[in-house]
Symmetry: D3
Subunit: 70 residues, 6 copies
């Protein structure tokens, strides 16, 4: 009965990608721990790039810097 | 000083239902553990049915399958 | 398919109290939202009073102050 | 490699305030634990005042009561 | 820069299984979302079977019932 | 009424460091958002280096590699 919470930045994640994350995490629980998929939850949180910081900076700012340096 | 996080699918939860969840969880902490309501937090997360998986499937898909099979 | 995470301080919580929390939270989901108990998860985290702060203070310290002031 | 999750009510938090939270939490990890900012994550969740309860009440209701009593 | 939190019951999970969970979740983020592994965190919480409830029951109790019915 | 959850690796964190984290996070909420410390919670989770992965590796393994390369 695993519970998996995947937090990613909210950057145009497609429904196909969401399905792939749910299926991949669930399969991993089956393969590694022999868990029952029927009681395996996968929850995806899409977090605004304004609300996610790394290395003192908002991810939104890091994305801007990366696009300018190209 | 309990902290309770209730994650449910985002399916037309009413304000009355939210109040009932907050009151019920808080009362449970008072009744079972003699906690002070003034420092009991209840946070409700409403999660898109696209972003919640169970048994390899998005809940949105499970809802569709259930409605079709009726 | 709710997921409920209850965080409480690690202060001699009994097994009967844990059962009461699990049953009370699950019943609340049934009563308020008509959820299926078979896919309702309740997870209890017992947090050391050294690791929980409120009002600038560790709960351990608050407990000491409260016991001295009695 | 700390991970810090800051949950606050969704009440007109400005971008400058978000930056200050990210910078302050990251600096704290550097100062207190000598952590590397490059692998320090800060995630801010803005929670609706309908979905946050304290003392049996929604924060939205508490805000209304406070404004009326002024 | 994903953050993945895997909550499983504390039932003799081996170090090889933990490695497989970390590697599988990280690879999934690379494959599906093209994320950088260097800023992909995977955190595993092992939760006591006394502290995890499903269907009104502690998992410990469910395990006992399952073993008796065999 | 903020709630702050700080997850760090379980590597001999001292009680003084825990106090500094609690005080620093709480002060940040006061300074940046004018929050009331009396309803500001800070929870510290110390996570085993076996259970925290980054870049496909357990932190325990990364610590070993770092100590060998010195």
């Amino acid at each position: 009965m695993p519970y998996i919470n995947v937090k990613i930045t909210d950057e145009a994640v497609t429904n196909e990608q969401k399905k792939a994350i749910i299926q991949g995490c669930t399969q991993l629980m089956v393969d590694v721990l022999n868990k029952d998929p029927a009681t395996t939850f996968v929850l995806i949180d899409e977090v605004s790039t304004d609300n996610w910081g790394i290395g003192f900076e908002q991810v939104r700012q890091l994305r801007l810097l990366a696009s300018h340096s190209q």
